[in-house]
Amino acid sequence: MAEINKDRPVKISVQNLTKRFGDLLVLDNMTFDIHENEFVCVVGPTGCGKTTFLNCLTRIYHPTEGDLLIDGTPADPAKHNISFVFQEPSALPWLTVEENIAYGLKIKKLPKDQIEQRVNQILDLMGLQTFRKSYPGELSVSAEQRIIIGRSFAMQPDLLLMDEPYGQMDVKVRFYLEDEVIRLWKELGSTIIFIIHNIEEAVYLAERIIILSNKPANIKEELIIDLPRPRNIADPKFIEYRNYITDKIKWW
């Protein structure tokens, strides 16, 4: 299918994922693979079931049918390392920046030296060394969101899910943080599913975009974005992708 994925093994396999709430069918038989170190954005019309889709992947909801496999075995939060960046600010206010980044690693009981090494790596990559002893409440909202992103990347997760983590920020800050996510993804080789409603940002970020249909959601189309990085939003090819996806998710 994808030229860019030819030499990467399948990391995540979603098979016949279906979710019903009583008689209401929300997710309809979705099947797709995500390759190791792939950056996938999921777009779709408002209310199409993006959040339900995400909640099935994080195991907050159990699918009615079908399953999510990580490295060939059914996803299990106790066994696999699934990390999630919430839409709302979720840095723990009583922990300093470095303690927030180390939080998940401590829960997983990693050796102390490994925790220290990973925290330092994230602080260096994100330019947060100066603020390592600060509390989230002392920093700006965008800095707090960066802590959360750093915390998720520090886990070196099998799968990193992001649910519009910049929804509440202005455009300039969003693009700045997205550049940061791209840098972390490239450095750390994570596998990312990014749920997003802004099509321009999806084209800016993704290697592949999954376009969902109206409810009940299924995969309408998958699109490889083969633009070089850093991407230019004024590039005619970029605009072509953006317009094409916008047309695809139109429900009117």
Partner: protein, 261 residues
């Protein structure tokens, strides 16, 4: 720029001098009132002389420090017990639905009872020794702690718990690393209330039946129409109370540093 700077430093001086001014006003009012009503209220000099006399001729063979220590010992023993048991019970009630259903309603019921209302029952059951005094203080300090801790625990933000779950934290890890830190400011509010409540209760208990303690000094002064002695005891109580409040605010800054920042 300079004018602005001058204005700010003036405001700062005014801000810091206001508390001193307030205390000064109380002392002035005291001096004026005692000068006009010497029988109702002894003046500052009379109180200082009485203070010296307490040291020269100790009451119940105990110096003022001895009386203060007797009260403090009762309060601290009760507080240590109340903090240990009260915080643990508050966490249990706030975290566990079954415990909340059973114990929560009991605490709601006993919450409005003033601790000194327990004094007659406790004296009837346990006499007038050391244990009943500590027990009365324990009752007075224990209840606000349980209620504040339980309230703090139940106010935990769902998204923070989700963070713990997402990283695969078990119930114990989530309780320890998410729920208890969230509740710490409320627990501290409970600790502050428990300290002031502890002082109130110990004095009430000592005023009824005690040889030693600041409450006993108040009663002795009151019964002997020795108002200067009453004031010596009251001022000592105020000083110890303030020192405890300062200690607690320092402790809170150490335990909850993100709050002070």
């Amino acid at each position: 720029m300079d004018v602005q700077k001058k204005k700010t430093s003036l405001q700062l001086i005014l801000w810091w001098s206001l508390p001193v001014l307030a205390v000064g006003l109380v002392i002035v009012a005291w001096v004026l009132f005692s000068a006009n009503n010497p029988r109702l209220m002894p003046g500052p000099m009379a109180v200082i002389q009485r203070l010296i006399k307490v040291f020269e001729k100790p009451i119940a063979k105990t110096s003022l420090f001895g009386h203060a220590w007797a009260s403090l010992k009762r309060v601290l023993t009760a507080l240590l017990l109340a903090w240990t048991i009260g915080i643990a019970l508050g966490i249990l009630i706030g975290w566990n639905r079954a415990c909340k259903a059973i114990l929560g309603s009991i605490f709601e019921l006993i919450r409005p009872i003033p601790p000194i209302a327990w004094i007659p029952i406790v004296i009837m059951w346990f006499g007038i020794g050391e244990f009943p005094k500590v027990l009365i203080v324990f009752i007075g300090t224990f209840v606000p702690l349980v209620i504040n801790t339980a309230a703090g625990i139940s106010m935990v933000d769902k998204i923070n718990v989700d963070v713990g779950k997402m990283f695969g934290g078990n119930n114990w890890q989530i309780l320890r690393s998410i729920v208890i830190p969230t509740a710490l400011p409320s627990i501290f509010a409970g600790i502050r209330t428990s300290v002031s409540s502890g002082w109130t209760t110990v004095l009430a208990a000592e005023m009824i039946a005690a040889q030693k303690g600041l409450g006993a000094l108040v009663t002795r002064g009151w019964q002997g129409s020795d108002m200067a002695l009453v004031l010596v005891a009251v001022i000592t109580i105020a000083i110890i109370g303030s020192l405890l409040a300062i200690f607690l605010s320092v402790l809170e800054k150490v335990v909850c540093p993100w709050k002070s920042n």
